[in-house]
Every structure is written in structure tokens, then in C-alpha cells.
Symmetry: C3
Subunit: 214 residues, 3 copies
């Protein structure tokens, strides 16, 4: 996530995205009957796992959650709170409810991940992959911890490809010397918009149908 940017809008969307990803971790972990330790761990990994893997691959320190460690408390306390509050029956979130913040996070994390890799002079296709890793690997790790095949690999709804498209928009805008906020905004809007349109229209990624023999 960008250092030195005072843009409060970016910070706001970033915060919404972290919380959306953490919430998707809470939802999945409660579905698998984990205890409060598991719920907090899965929420943490979902929210910060993609960016952390990107930074490990790029050999970049400090991690977002080390530099902005207040977020660690926010995610841990809110996850525990939501899980206990939810368990008491007073509220209910569904995967559907987090579609919008999740799509915002997908677009923003993908654009930021791409820009960070490009700033380290990575080749274009590697930068695009780093954007995708940032956007989707939190969810992949969440599903591995929950002992499931990652949803992004098989639910046939475009997710990673939206982030991939957004990454190329960023790379194109950057090649045209667009100012940084414009490139970020265009890329994030492309990925988030594609995701929302794809969900609304029921677009499908090709693959094996479950009634096909291999």
C-alpha cells in the first residue's frame, strides 16, 4: 500500500477493503466451526496474506501490518467481536453482503500491488502477477486454512482475471506517463467494475463442468 500518500479517499477505500477481506475470513471460519482463535487467525491471513506474500516475493520490508500495526488490533478485536456477537444470534452477514467491499478491495489491492512491483523495476508480466497475488492470495490462504479448494480456482466466476485486467490498465496508464493517482484509480475502477458487472450478468470463466468426464 502506498507510502506518503495523504489521500484520505485512498486510505478510506483501503480500510474498507481490509475489513471486507477480514470479514470474508470470519464468515468462512465460522462456517467451518472454528473457535475464536481460528476465526481471528483466518481473518488476519485473509486481510493481510496477499500483501504479505507479495512483499516476501519482492523481498520488501516492512509489511503493511508491521508499518501500520494499529490494523492488527482492529482486525483481531473486530473479528473476535463479530464472531461472538454473531454467535449470540443478533446479526448475520452473508457472503453476498460483502460482495461490494470485496470487489473494491480486489480492485484497489490489485492496482497497488502492481504499482509496487513496477516501482521495483519488475518486468510487466511479473508486476501484473504481483497485483493478482496481492488481490487474491489472501482468499487462497483462507481457503487452504479452511481445508477447501480455493474458490478463486473453481467457482467459474471471474475474480483473478478482473485483477489481471486492472493490472494491465495500470501498466498501460503508467507507460503513457499518466499521473499516479489517475493510473491507480483507473486500474482499480476497471477491476472492481468488471467484477461487479460479471457478478450481475453471471459471466462464466471456461472450465470443466461437473458433469463432464475427464
Amino acid at each position: 500500500m502506498p507510502e506518503g500518500s495523504a489521500d484520505w479517499l485512498l486510505r478510506l477505500v483501503e480500510g474498507v477493503a481490509v475489513l471486507a477481506f477480514a470479514l470474508s475470513g470470519v464468515i468462512e471460519a465460522t462456517r467451518r466451526r472454528m473457535d475464536v482463535v481460528g476465526i481471528c487467525s483466518v481473518a488476519f491471513v485473509t486481510a493481510f496474506g496477499g500483501g504479505t506474500l507479495r512483499d516476501v516475493l519482492l523481498d520488501k520490508r516492512p509489511f503493511f501490518w508491521v508499518a501500520h500495526w494499529g490494523w492488527v488490533w482492529v482486525v483481531l478485536v473486530l473479528s473476535a467481536g463479530v464472531a461472538l456477537w454473531w454467535r449470540s444470534g443478533h446479526a448475520h452477514f452473508t457472503a453476498r453482503a460483502i460482495r461490494l467491499p470485496d470487489a473494491l478491495g480486489l480492485g484497489l489491492f490489485g492496482a497497488v500491488g502492481t504499482s509496487q512491483a513496477a516501482a521495483l523495476d519488475m518486468p510487466a508480466v511479473v508486476s501484473a502477477l504481483m497485483g493478482v497475488v496481492t488481490a487474491v492470495f489472501g482468499g487462497v490462504l483462507r481457503d487452504i486454512l479452511c481445508n477447501e479448494i480455493p474458490a478463486v480456482f473453481r467457482d467459474h466466476r471471474p475474480y483473478a482475471v478482473c485483477a489481471f485486467a486492472g493490472a494491465w490498465v495500470w501498466l498501460g496508464a503508467d507507460a503513457l506517463a499518466a499521473p499516479a493517482p489517475l493510473a491507480l484509480g483507473l486500474a482499480a475502477a476497471t477491476a472492481s467494475g468488471l467484477r461487479l458487472v460479471a457478478l450481475a450478468r453471471g459471466w462464466q470463466v471456461p472450465g470443466w463442468r461437473s458433469d463432464e468426464s475427464v
Copy 2:
């Protein structure tokens, strides 16, 4: 694990902890019908995975098992030996039998992990998390390799929270300028003691009961 410390007691507990963690890997791998390669691999990952992940996150080298590579031989040879000996029916270890060494390892690895992160000037909550990662991630990786939801996330018995509590004891002792061996000892004793008391008393971490609908 601390360099330059000549404390034989620390070395002894450390060795016991590595062996206990390796043994828990052997038990889990044989339960899943792995061959001797799988048993050695799972034992290795369980014993050294937590500390290795911590060092990757902290960008710290060399790893414990690179600096003290004799332990690699010890773990590989003992794991293969225990598995073959056990298979011949002459002995039987149960998960219950490793409770005590496992609790010792939990306390010691958590305290050492916290102190190593703090030595790199990490924020307090990050240091505490690094202690927890050191103590529990070997077991998490073991369960992922065995295709199970990590036990620490859902068995409702306090494990990670004991390491977390011990980490804060270390941070408190350090803030009060306690000498290093005292801080380590207090933190490790807190975590190990909490774990043993929790097992003896049947304390539960809140979560979803399996008869609750989500």
C-alpha cells in the same frame, strides 16, 4: 533461538521441544498413512516450520536449522527410526504422551520468538504475533500437509492464546528492564503453565458448537 547463550538448561529445553514437535508430526503423519518420506517431511516441517516462517517474515538469516544443521540429521533419522520401530509394533506413542513436551515447546518457542522480533525493533503487537507464529505455525503446517483443518484453529482448547499471553509477559518484563533469562523464563513458564492448567481443567475457547447452525 538465542545465539551466544551458553545456558545449558535453555539448550536442553529447546532440544526437548524440537523433538516433541517432531514427534507430533510423526504421530499425525502415520495416522494419515504416509510413507517414510512423508513422515520425515512432516516431522521436519512441524519442528522447524514455525521458526522458519518467523525468520522469513522478519527477513532474518540463517535459520535455526541451517545454523545448527546437526538437528536436521537428528530429526530425519529419529523420525524414520521411530516410524519404522513403531510400525513393527514394539512401541506406541499417543498424542496424550507428548502433551508435556509440547507444552514446554509452546512456552519456550513463543518466548524466544517474541524476544527475537523485539530485538529487531518490531512494534509490541507484532512481536507478540511473531512469538505465536513461532510456537504454533509448525503445527498449522503439519495439519495443512495432512489435509486437515489446523487443530489450533478449532479444537477449542487454549493453545495459541497461551503463547499470546506468554508473549505479553515477556514484553512486560522487558519493558520493566528485567534481565533476559528472567524475562524468557517467566514468559515460557506462563505459556506452558497456562497450557497445562487449561488441559487439566478442560478450559474452552469460545466458538461455534457443532450442533449450532450458522
Copy 3:
């Protein structure tokens, strides 16, 4: 993989090995009914995961697929192409069909991984382990993403032990001051040859039979 080597034979075998590993990822992912995003991701991780994990553990940059980023396109495009072509029913690859290129990859990746760790002055047993990690961890990650217990841990056919044996041949040849290409060739031939002989003869790694009680 070795820098500065102009040996076209090495490059050729390396390319064959990357493609064989990617193909084994495609086969496994289609078997689990993934979509094209999942197929490409699993192929990528299988082909480059072992070397990437080795480089993360050795703190070495850039990764093979960052330095030679053309391979990223080759793997992504070929995986998507093979999956769609295959789905249309015009072709069929089986796990049996990739045994030979997979064995070549096992030998070559293991030897190269060992030599790279030794070049960083790692202890012998650590270098041997790094060779094994390079050769087998792509497949381990493939199986984790496909929600299976890694085949290398439990199919009872020698795989990791062949890479381990090849690694020690490299270390022995290096200790005897053999020229680099000879050491690489001997080590790779040992591992690949052992693998092929083991498959042909049905050698078994000891372990638990599925009808044994634990």
C-alpha cells in the same frame, strides 16, 4: 537454475522439465474440475513453486521466472491452451505420459537446487535438502492447492529419495573437485535414473499399509 551457462542441452532439459511440471499441474487441476484460472495458477505454482520456495529460504533474488519472464507467458498460455483443447476432446494426457519428462525435471531441478545452495556455502545436508525442495515442492504445493495429501508423502514410490540421492552425488562430485557440468550431469542422471528404474521395477518406500491399524 544456472546463470551464465550457455549449454543449450541444459537449457533444453530445463525447458522440458518446466513444461512437464506445468503439465502435471494442468492434469491435476482439471481432475479437480477447476476453471481456467485455477488450471493456470496450479500449473504456474507446480512449475515454479519449488525453485521459488528454495530462493525464499536462501534469500536469493531474482527468481527464475522473474529473470526469465518469458517462461511466465509460455506456462500461462500453454496451460490455458492445453486445458481448452483437451476439454474439446481432441487430446488426452495421462499422468503416465509425463513420467519421463517429470523424472528428467526431478533430476535436473534437484541437482541445480543443490548446487545453488552449495554456492551460498550452506552445510551439506542443508544443500541436499534445498535440492529436494526445488525438485519436489512444486508438486507438494500443487497437491495442497488441490486439497489433497501431497502424493510425494504417501504414494510409497520413491520420488523425494531419488532427488536426495542425486543431491549427495552432486555433493560428492563437488568435494572431489569435478567440473561443474560433470557434477550436474552425474547428479541429475542418478536421480532421474533411480526414479525411472524405481517406477519400472515397482520399488516401494516403507510406510504404513492402508490395512494396518495405527
